[in-house]
Symmetry: C2
Subunit: 280 residues, 2 copies
Amino acid sequence: MEDDEKKAAATAWFVDLRDRICASFEALETDLAEDGLPAGRFARKTWQRDGGGGGEMALMHGRVFEKVGVNLSTVHGILPADYRAAIPGAEAAGGAFWAAGISLVAHPRSPLIPATHMNCRMIVTGQSWFGGGADLTPTFLDESDAKAFHEAFSAACAKHPVADYERYKRWCDEYFFLPHRGEARGIGGIFFDNLASGDWHADFAFVKEVGCAFHAIYPALVRRHLGQPWTVEEKRAQLIKRGRYVEFNLLYDRGTMFGLKTGGNVEAILMSLPPEVAWP
Amino acid sequence: MEDDEKKAAATAWFVDLRDRICASFEALETDLAEDGLPAGRFARKTWQRDGGGGGEMALMHGRVFEKVGVNLSTVHGILPADYRAAIPGAEAAGGAFWAAGISLVAHPRSPLIPATHMNCRMIVTGQSWFGGGADLTPTFLDESDAKAFHEAFSAACAKHPVADYERYKRWCDEYFFLPHRGEARGIGGIFFDNLASGDWHADFAFVKEVGCAFHAIYPALVRRHLGQPWTVEEKRAQLIKRGRYVEFNLLYDRGTMFGLKTGGNVEAILMSLPPEVAWP
């Protein structure tokens, strides 16, 4: 399989996953019947990147999801010289890169429903690899939610010899950590990068498994808490918890940095930021 | 004058400026009579730094100031090896540093009253210098506020041969800029760093002038808008504008970075973050 075919296959699959997830999220909006707000629907907006490529944002402000963004991007170009050392294979390729991916951040309205983040990406420089993962950020820990989320990704990894669940889980815990507060961002999940086993098809199959596992488990967790009443104190705690999310994304997140450094679409990159936040 | 005397003199003056500003801000709280909320009062809290020194936070949640923090810190120790290159004289001193300063960020409740930031600091490594400045961040530009603010600092600089107003104003505009949005954080003011003319007393006199100029102008600008009614749309615009403030402080601000890298007090460093923020 030629490189171009691999790129096309990965890109097409990201689009397909986006469509399926958006449909499931809109179904949750419909199914939450008792709220005074209308059911949310995604609004889509394409963007072009100066320097090559572009993407499509899907953004919904609903009654289950106070704000959820699902971004697709397929970008290519030349990395700034001062950023190449941070990207494997970038120096060898004279800074040339191609990257495609799906990135999702959901901030539910209910403080009892965990926020989440999911990302799958394929990157090509002088090398080619996949990365991705998914993690959960509850304001109030529900042990059974956490267990189900972790089990979903443990099971996804178990089906694929190229994956190493224990390592990816640890990587997630290490990555989504706020050193200045000595706090984890959430309860983790999995995180992987530089996945290039030598068998592209096997790697891609695993990445698809991660996307499908996310699609199977997260809407199911949301559904568990649909319609549960919450208090203003719980909502306030959620707004403060979201502050940690902002701190992580702006101080430490490599994806945010990659996007801003490569002249990505600012609206798309910062779509991850929560709709309302408090720092008391 | 010995180094220790200079450090003591600067530190004492930062304390005095803090006391005078806090008193003026509390007077504004008292003078806004028609609001349903009680007049705010500063709560003070000292903190110790692991590795040397400490500080005192003063935080107020009032009816004029939705959140205002005034921090004093006097810290010393050894800079992390990977951070020394960024600090003049740090390598020569084996990483040893001493720093004292006052830092203020005010987020008024009314979207018609501009937010502000002011900082004065003295730093000693293998070299010794002052830095500081003040800037204004209105949600809605009031030309006469902007003019009065700029004139205050122009006049402060004009009294001191060690100061260069045009350069400090430009430096402020360049510093408080969000490249990813191509937007200024606010309307600027002045910013200076590495001020070491060779005459410490002259430099210190200018720093004091900056603190006094801020104390004279900012409460006066707040007073202009005390009690002016505002709309929910204006308040919403303020919450969104505050998002830019957060983006700047977490993505770019050197003071935030210096504090987090040198193990400063996280609560004090992040006291600058606004009380309520929106990213729509």
